[in-house]
């Protein structure tokens, strides 16, 4: 009994230490965002780095003074929101077609779709850039949204979820008189909330921090997202770490809100799709 108690306490201590390791950078960022610039670097090597001490909102005021934060935030919300919402529609339909509908070439096309998974954006960014330039298509929202709606990983997640749904549900719906689209909308989607939540969160996370592509296809702040705005704090003097931390806190906050909102479904989706990490 006593030995079991000690073992439990030790395992909790180990878990707490691990959790602290993961959360430390976030705490550092939050504390740093509330410190006067002079203390940010001087306290970085000690435990004081995690404590704001005499806190101030000056860094946040600096951020708003140096960039049009609201515009960048709006741009990010428009781009990411559009990619997520349109992606849910397109990728779920594609995953459904691969998982459930019988059509010639399905297997080949699905294999090709999976093959795209191994291609990082960086590898195709330049050819894609040439393509959109050739199409005269730059410096707007669409060029940042359309290429990212269809997403092989999202299709794969939907596929793995749909393929495990009992086929009798669709067969019952067919016999009851529902066509494929209605079956999908009224039977499949309402029973697939976990995978929709997982894909929504993962594509939101992926899109929110995207950097290379908007850097290539946009100029100026008109349509640029937050991820480019934060870069200006590194490249344009003065280099103010407090400002960068404050910007980081404001940039990460929407992600935390989205995650907390969808968390329940997300965890179920991770289990249901067999997705790890």
């Amino acid at each position: 009994m006593r030995r079991r108690l000690v073992a439990t306490m030790l395992s909790y201590a180990a878990l707490a230490l691990l959790a602290l390791l993961f959360v430390a950078p976030v705490l550092l960022m939050m504390a740093g965002s509330l410190k006067p610039e002079a203390r940010v670097l001087t306290e970085a090597g000690s435990l004081k780095a995690f404590l704001p001490g005499n806190w101030t909102l000056q860094n946040y005021r600096d951020v708003f003074a140096r960039v049009d934060f609201a515009r960048y935030l709006g741009n990010s919300l428009i781009i990411t929101g559009s990619v997520v919402v349109a992606g849910l529609v397109v990728n779920s339909l594609a995953g459904y077609a691969f998982a459930r509908l019988a059509w010639r070439g399905r297997r080949l096309l699905f294999t090709l779709t999976l093959a795209i998974l191994v291609l990082p954006l960086e590898a195709i960014a330049v050819p894609l850039f040439y393509q959109v330039t050739w199409m005269g298509w730059r410096d707007d929202y669409l060029v940042q949204i359309l290429p990212f709606i269809a997403n092989a990983f999202s299709v794969y997640l939907f596929y793995t979820f749909f393929v495990d749904l009992p086929p009798e549900l669709e067969e019952a719906a067919r016999l009851d008189g529902a066509g494929p689209l209605r079956t999908f909308a009224t039977i499949i989607v309402p029973n697939s909330k976990p995978v929709f939540a997982s894909v929504a969160i993962l594509s939101f996370l992926g899109q929110w921090g995207v950097f290379i592509w908007p850097l290539l296809v946009t100029s100026g702040e008109r349509v640029r997202p937050l991820s480019l705005a934060i870069a200006t704090f590194y490249t344009l003097p003065p280099l103010q770490w407090g400002d960068i931390f404050a910007f980081g806190v404001m940039m990460v906050s929407p992600i935390l809100v989205v995650f907390l909102f969808f968390q329940r479904w997300f965890v179920r989706g991770v289990v249901a799709t067999g997705l790890k990490g």
Binding site: P166, E168, L169, E171, A172, A173, R174, L175, D176, G177, A178, R182, I187, P190, N191
Partner: protein, 371 residues
């Protein structure tokens, strides 16, 4: 309501598996036809073909003498009850019942009327606002039935609808299905692997094996005059005991060899002595139901068997015994519950030779109904 027909229907899947071969079956208007067979025999495929969920490779499917091969499932107006019920998990009972009616775009008052009718018929009052996961197995089964009947379909298709229920509930729901089918008079094709279910439910029973129909008959005919060894062994629990044998002419008529004995075949027995003449001195099989054996006194000609296993069922006992002169599987014997018999007992048994069934070397009944 309608008659249903399979005209020389075959189905071969893309991977080459032949699921059905030349099925000829007609289900009369209002009839409850049970299709029974072991797993993989093609019985569910036959059902799915009729529902329109699969396409036949050859042959015609008819509903009310209308060829429906090219009709979409919803156009055929057949309703199906699935093994796992296939209730829509996110809809409550009411919405489940209404779904097929909404798909037909029926007026609201008609939807309400039919839903109320099914609710009352299947005693679903009080369950209407519940989700499927909040229902017991039996209740889910009744909702699945309700969703099928509200459409007023031309035929009911049931794919092992009781197999997810426990034994007691299965008996109860089986009775409810039979009563409902009689009351509504809807042509029903019912698929099961359970021969007890088949025998108790069906007006007629179609036995399938390896994609082929073996016999279509009334339940009692299947039991008493099986068309071949497969049917003889599949129908009945336990199935018929089968032994290799020979026929020979005797002073009294015909006799068959069985465990060092020659058993006379009486004229009033199952064996068709006229048909059997053609098989004299040729290898045949004889079949004996477990109840064809009886305990006997030692002064008549007897077989002595060693009991290997006993299943005491309360009202009777089933013995599995080894006959020394007969190779092969144990012989199943049905005896009254008393006196109780123990494993290892040696029993003198007599055979009721009127209950001997004859099969030719290919396993076809010499005395039975041909498929």
């Amino acid at each position: 309501m309608a008659s249903v027909g399979f005209i020389d229907v075959s189905k071969r899947f893309a991977d080459g598996t032949e699921a059905l071969a030349g099925i000829e079956l007609r289900i009369e208007d209002g009839e409850l036809m049970v299709v029974v067979g072991p797993s993989g025999c093609g019985k569910s495929t036959a059902l799915r073909l009729l529902a329109g969920l699969e396409q036949p490779t050859a042959g015609e499917l008819r509903i009310d003498d209308e060829v429906v091969n090219d009709m979409a499932p919803q156009q055929r107006n057949v309703a199906m009850v699935f093994q796992n019920y296939a209730l829509y998990p996110h809809m409550n009972v009411r919405r489940n019942l209404e779904f097929p009616l909404r798909m037909q775009k029926l007026p609201a008052d008609e939807i309400a009327r039919r839903t109320a009718w099914a609710t009352q018929l299947l005693q679903l009052d009080g369950l209407m606002e519940r989700l499927p996961k909040q229902l017991s197995g039996g209740q889910r089964q009744r909702v699945a039935m309700g969703r099928a009947i509200v459409r007023e379909p031309r035929a009911f298709l049931m794919d092992e609808p009781l197999s997810n229920l426990d034994a007691k509930l299965r008996v109860q729901i089986r009775g409810e299905i039979a009563a409902l089918q009689r009351r509504l008079g809807i042509t029903t094709l019912y698929v099961t692997h359970d021969q007890v279910e088949a025998m108790t439910l069906g007006d007629r029973v179609a036995v399938m094996h390896a994609g082929r129909l073996q016999q279509v008959s009334a339940p009692q005919v299947l039991y008493e005059r099986p068309a071949n060894i497969f049917v003889a062994q599949f129908i009945g629990s336990p199935g018929m005991n089968i032994y290799a044998s020979r026929l020979q002419r005797t002073d009294n008529g015909l006799a068959c060899a069985f465990a060092d004995h020659w058993l006379d075949l009486p004229p009033d027995g199952h064996a068709n002595l006229v048909a059997a003449q053609a098989h004299i001195d040729r290898p045949v099989y004889i079949g004996l139901r477990p109840e064809a054996f009886a305990r006997t006194d030692v002064d008549v000609e007897t077989l002595t068997m060693t009991v290997k296993a006993v299943e005491a069922l309360g009202h009777e006992q089933l013995l599995y015994a080894d006959i020394p002169q007969v190779s092969g599987e144990n012989t199943a014997i049905r005896l009254p519950a008393l006196p109780m018999i123990a494993i290892g007992d040696r029993l003198p048994l007599a055979v009721d030779s009127r209950r001997i069934h004859l099969f030719d070397a290919e396993g076809r009944a010499i005395d039975g109904e041909q498929a």
